[in-house]
């Protein structure tokens, strides 16, 4: 029945206008990226020539030059920091969620409030004190200067999200397992963690994106170029290439490509995850 209604409206003027507007909006959204790719394949002279023209000879060499700037090194750093942070967020988050939603003990409400409260405290205003605290622990200018705060600020959301999922798991699981004499950790590891994998995976993607793209901590808590992540690396790269525009653009394409590929590969699940992201 709905289908029929669809067809009757198929060529209504309203529909044409809406389609035209949406196409325009999509062009406005995506054409800058297309322009970036096209410009990254031009010679410096061509760039000033016309913004719309295609490159005469596609300058793939720009990509080699950009890569030679050490982008690979920044990518390795980003991979290390992101994978360690996300693994820790997921393990610590799932374990905390398990303890707070499944296991009975005293003082639970207070501890839950304390951890969830962390969700509303903005990391942006904590910058300078965090810088001092990291210095005190000797973490400044190490991978840990990024990983530890990422985990601390990612934990409350992970607990919230995974906890909401674990709360739906039938309670008998826990009682049966403890009657069998399984310890807390075993009950967590072999029952509750596998059961809540969908929620854990969603948190993994959300936090992975957040950590990979994080700017302020990575900018402030790292001094050595050898430890910089890709987000900061490209800005140093940008400063170094203020004249070699096409190479800079090639570098930008390289930095955008992995995230874009990851998004397109997982986009089916993104609507639900985006909703989860907001709740954090």
């Amino acid at each position: 029945m709905m289908r029929m209604a669809h067809w009757r409206r198929a060529f209504s003027p309203g529909r044409v206008v809406v389609l035209a507007l949406l196409t325009l909006l999509t062009l406005f959204t995506l054409y800058p990226l297309v322009w970036l790719v096209l410009s990254s394949l031009k010679t410096p002279y061509e760039m000033f020539d016309s913004a719309w023209r295609l490159p005469e000879v596609w300058q793939w060499g720009n990509y080699r030059t950009a890569w030679a700037f050490g982008l690979g090194h920044y990518i390795v750093n980003s991979v290390i920091v992101t994978s360690v942070s996300v693994t820790l967020i997921l393990l610590a988050g799932a374990l905390t969620a398990f303890l707070l939603t499944v296991v009975p003990f005293r003082g639970k409400a207070l501890i839950t409030l304390f951890i969830m409260g962390g969700m509303v405290l903005p990391p942006e205003v904590s910058l300078f004190p965090l810088f001092r605290i990291l210095n005190m622990f000797g973490l400044y200018n190490t991978y840990g200067a990024m990983i530890v705060p990422y985990v601390a600020f990612g934990l409350p959301f992970a607990v919230f999200f995974i906890g909401a999922y674990m709360a739906m798991v039938p309670h008998d699981f826990y009682e049966a397992a403890t009657l069998d004499g399984a310890g807390l950790l075993r009950c967590f590891w072999s029952i509750y963690l596998p059961v809540s994998l969908p929620a854990v995976a969603a948190v993994g993607v959300i936090q992975g994106m957040r950590v990979w793209n994080e700017f302020q901590f990575a900018l402030t808590f790292i001094e050595s170029d050898s430890l910089r992540t890709l987000t900061i690396g490209i800005s140093t790269f940008g400063d170094a290439l203020r004249v070699d525009w096409a190479v800079l653009m090639a570098g930008l394409v390289i930095s955008v490509a992995p995230v874009l590929a990851a998004f397109l590969a997982t986009q089916r699940h993104f609507v639900g995850m985006a909703q989860g992201g907001v709740k954090g």
């Binding site: 949406l22 970036l36 610590a92 903005p122 942006e124 409350p156 930095s255 995230v259 993104f270 907001v278």
Partner: protein, 293 residues
């Protein structure tokens, strides 16, 4: 396992996580409040307690007020474009005007800017705004609006709005997708019976969609305002707060005070104010939400 050990196990397991959150999430907020009562630079080891002097200085500082004004502009623009237009966009994407598959493609395309790294976006738009070869001026000239060509980020009158525009470009699709999720939760029958009553799509939007997604709207308004109070990354990357402080926001001013001009106590005071502002908006939103129910 003895009974005592079993009873203590949850606490022992939770202890490291609690310590982590306490030290890295809660402590900095408290430390900021403390720093804001001192005059202190990282070069001199002595802290001078100055009471409320930093706050008095802040309220008399024209740069603070102009930064706050810039945050306000950022917030208003984001509410108008991301939240208001985002809701309209979501309603269009979910309406019967579009075939399912096509609306799915639009949704993915419009979502893309929100997943890209902020530095790449900032640099990309610096290039797009570049006066000599950037796409923005080229597009204006192509459609015959050559008189509106600017050195967008280099002129005091356009710098802030140019940065604000980038955030709208980046986040409107994201917000729209969140509204899509909310719209999908609305029972179809509401629309069907409205249609039988002869209500057009626009009427349906205002009398069914808008009230039904109120909850989501509240959350998104709050997130948008929080984002506007804290905004730092995109401004710092694109203009650094310049030219001549024209695009300075509380976030960039705080960063500059704490890390560049070595006015640590003053930077902390700005941070406390940012925290207070977002708390006030958070509480206000909660109160409105309670009242609305």
């Amino acid at each position: 396992m003895t009974g005592w050990r079993a009873r203590m196990a949850p606490y022992a397991l939770l202890a490291p996580m609690l310590a982590l959150v306490a030290v890295f999430v809660y402590l900095p907020i408290l430390a900021n409040i403390r720093f804001s009562f001192y005059r202190w630079s990282s070069l001199s080891p002595t802290w001078v307690f100055v009471g409320l002097a930093n706050y008095r200085r802040l309220f008399a500082d024209p740069l603070f007020w102009s930064s706050l004004g810039n945050n306000a502009i950022y917030a208003v623009a984001s509410l108008a474009v991301q939240v208001a237009c985002g809701l309209v966009l979501a309603a269009v994407l979910e309406s019967t005007l579009l075939p399912r598959r096509l609306s799915g493609c639009f949704r993915v395309a419009l979502f893309i800017p929100s997943v890209l790294p902020i530095t790449a976006i900032g640099l990309l738009w610096q290039l797009l705004y570049q006066p000599a070869f950037g796409l923005v001026n080229a597009a204006l000239e192509t459609v015959g609006l050559g008189q509106f060509v600017h050195a967008w980020l280099g002129e005091e009158s356009t710098a802030l709005l140019s940065v604000v525009a980038v955030s709208q470009w980046q986040w409107t699709g994201y917000i729209a997708v969140l509204f899509v999720v909310a719209i999908r939760g609305i029972p179809r029958e509401l629309y069907e019976s409205a249609e039988i009553d002869g209500a057009g799509l626009i009427r349906q939007f205002f009398s069914i969609t808008v009230p039904s997604v109120r909850q989501t709207t509240f959350v998104l308004v709050m997130i948008t305002i929080f984002g506007a109070v804290k905004v730092f990354d995109i401004v710092w990357i694109m203009t650094g707060g310049g030219p001549n402080n024209a695009s300075q926001t509380l976030g960039t001013y705080m960063y500059r005070s704490a890390f560049q001009t070595d006015a640590v106590g003053y930077g902390a005071t700005i941070a406390v104010l940012m925290f207070a502002l977002s708390s006030v908006f958070g509480l206000l939103n909660l109160w409105l939400q309670r009242r609305g129910e």
